[in-house]
């Protein structure tokens, strides 16, 4: 079991009596791409927020590289190497695109006020980080906006910025919240290309949340299906199609929706 980087054990959380996640158990292998899918309201995003520390579980444990992280604050979890993107992409609109990326730089001496009196260390780090940030912007293809306010970017470009900023933090595991939702096909290609490169070159571990199975079919090593706050299936992408519980869950919501 040593190759498990993340273990979620029987985690539950409720909001005002509604059980958003109700005893979910799943795990992620080192270097894999694992996708969590499920109909709306299945608790996918809540599970994500639990892993990244934005909310605290009522019960259950979450282990990252063997350490319990379910009680840690979000920034402590990020320090351990779990970095997330946001549903619909969050950018700091009144910072430039480059400044947004620079936020991701870890252990920046300039973040510590004491180093105000140590400009040499600050400037050296900034210079190096800026070069890395520009390289990342180039990689995702938005380097021409580097000095513009991030607020002027289109939805798709914001997704690229969100991803690049997460990469700037040099994560061990990357959590991507619906990275392909509302993105045009060309951009999906671009994103997949970037993900593929990261996987092969940097051996990153990925955990994705998506609405549909189709989107993540080809890139996932494993698929976890959630419905009504529980994990109802877990396996290879192909095996998920044949799983009766999954079919029921999706058909069930489709009936409710129509």
């Amino acid at each position: 079991m040593n190759n498990l980087i993340l273990e979620v054990n029987d985690v539950a959380v409720a909001f005002g009596g509604v059980k958003a996640v109700n005893g979910a158990t799943m795990s992620v292998e080192v270097g894999s791409v694992t996708s969590v899918i499920g109909p709306n309201g299945a608790g996918k995003t809540t599970l994500f927020n639990l892993i990244s520390g934005a909310i605290k579980p009522d019960s259950g444990t979450i282990l990252f590289q063997g350490f319990e992280i379910q009680k840690l604050l979000p920034h402590k979890i990020a320090d351990r190497g779990i970095v997330r993107t946001f549903q619909g992409a969050k950018v700091i609109k009144r910072l430039s695109v480059l400044e947004n990326l620079m936020l991701g730089a870890q252990n920046n001496p300039g973040d510590n006020l004491i180093n105000f009196f140590n400009p040499r260390a600050r400037n050296a780090f900034e210079k190096q980080a800026r070069e890395r940030a520009m390289a990342l912007l180039k990689q995702v293809g938005i380097e021409r906006f580097a000095n513009d306010y991030a607020g002027i970017l289109s939805g798709g470009q914001r997704k690229l910025l969100d991803l690049a900023r997460a990469l700037m933090a040099e994560p061990v595991m990357l959590l991507l919240d619906e990275p392909f939702a509302g993105v045009n096909p060309t951009l999906v290609e671009k994103l997949l290309e970037v993900l593929h490169a990261l996987r092969t070159e940097h051996h990153l571990t990925f955990l994705l949340v998506e609405h549909d199975l189709e989107t993540v079919m080809n890139i996932s090593d494993r698929v976890v299906v959630m419905a009504e706050g529980r994990v109802i299936a877990d396996g290879l992408p192909n095996s998920i199609y044949e799983n009766q519980a999954v079919v029921d869950a999706y058909l069930g919501t489709r009936k409710l929706n129509s």
Binding site: K93, D111, G151, M168
Partner: protein, 327 residues
């Protein structure tokens, strides 16, 4: 009318502007960078000035040590305010911060034995039979400067002019330091927290720590303003620290465009004229009103300017409109 023609009037306006400029700079760090809506800033000024006055008068401290202690107490006040309430939602923080400064003033007003109560610093019990003054050391410096100014300005050079010069030198130095601090990555993180907590936290930044530091730094600068205030008025009174003083600073900050340090000095001078200048409007038609009525009208004018500013030009005189409309 004649008052306006005298150099003393201009020196007075500039000195007050400078002190308010320093005071506002503290808010600039908190709001302009960190988006923190602190309405209790005047409390820090009260803490530092009274601490200094009490230590010098009642305990015979060296002025410099007392002044440093005053600023330190202001920093502690900021830390207390931040630690207890900074985790709250933004609007809660604003309300509690107002309450904080009012409580400080309230305690000063009612602690006769320590602060002189409603009679101000004149009623602080001095050591032995000394006169309850905390300005002796400072006056020595001011008179030394005056003596060096006399050859240049002649009779016009006086204690007040020396004071004005020192205030503006201090403001200049602080403006320089703050503009440098605002170029660090510390300030970049803080600017991010102004819009959103989730992004910086997800990138490993302890948002609370950054905000707390901003409040403490702002309080230290507010504390420095408090020391200068004490030296300028020479006699402290609890009424010097009404909540409205914080709003004066907000007005200067909004005028200057909030996010940029550049306009602050000019906005402070503009306020100085509005505030101090109207004091000397003793000619017709203002002569119809007596002095206290004119002082009521002065604050009314400031209220009107605040409202018109927020409706007509919320980005201030020097602010960029585009920064405010980004969605």
């Amino acid at each position: 009318m004649t008052a306006i023609l005298q150099p003393g009037f201009w020196v007075f306006i500039l000195t007050m502007s400078g002190i308010y400029g320093i005071f506002t700079l503290g808010l600039q760090v908190q709001y302009g960078v960190g988006g923190i809506l602190n309405f209790g800033h005047v409390g820090m000024m009260a803490l530092s000035s009274y601490t200094m006055a009490i230590l010098v008068i009642a305990h015979g401290f060296n002025f410099w040590i007392a002044a440093a202690s005053g600023v330190a107490v202001a920093a502690l006040g900021g830390a207390f305010l931040g630690l207890t309430t900074l985790r709250l939602r933004g609007d809660y923080f604003s309300i509690v911060s107002i309450a904080f400064s009012e409580i400080v003033r309230y305690v000063i007003f009612n602690s006769d034995g320590l602060t002189g109560g409603s009679q101000g610093s004149l009623a602080i019990m001095p050591i032995g039979d000394a006169y309850p003054s905390y300005t002796d050391t400072w006056d020595t410096i001011l008179y030394w400067i005056r003596d060096h100014l006399t050859p240049i300005f002649g009779e016009v050079a006086d204690r007040d002019m020396a004071m004005g010069i020192l205030v503006w030198i201090t403001l200049g130095i602080l403006l320089f330091i703050v503009s440098r601090v605002e170029r660090t990555s510390w300030a970049r993180v803080l600017r991010a927290t102004r819009e959103d907590d989730d992004v910086p936290s997800a990138l490993g930044k302890n948002v609370f720590r950054f905000r707390l530091q901003a409040v403490i730094i702002g309080s230290i600068i507010g504390g420095i303003a408090g020391i200068y205030w004490a030296l300028q008025v020479t006699l402290l009174s609890p009424d010097d620290f009404l909540t409205i003083v914080t709003f004066y600073a907000w007005m200067i900050l909004i005028l200057s465009g909030a996010t940029k340090v550049k306009g602050l000095a000019i906005a402070a001078i503009f306020f100085g004229f509005l505030y101090g200048g109207t004091r000397f409007f003793t000619f017709w038609p203002f002569s119809v009103f007596d002095a206290s009525q004119r002082s009521y009208m002065r604050i009314m004018i400031i209220g009107i300017v605040l409202i018109v500013l927020m409706i007509r030009r919320p980005q201030g005189i020097f602010g960029k409109r585009e920064e405010m409309v980004l969605e």
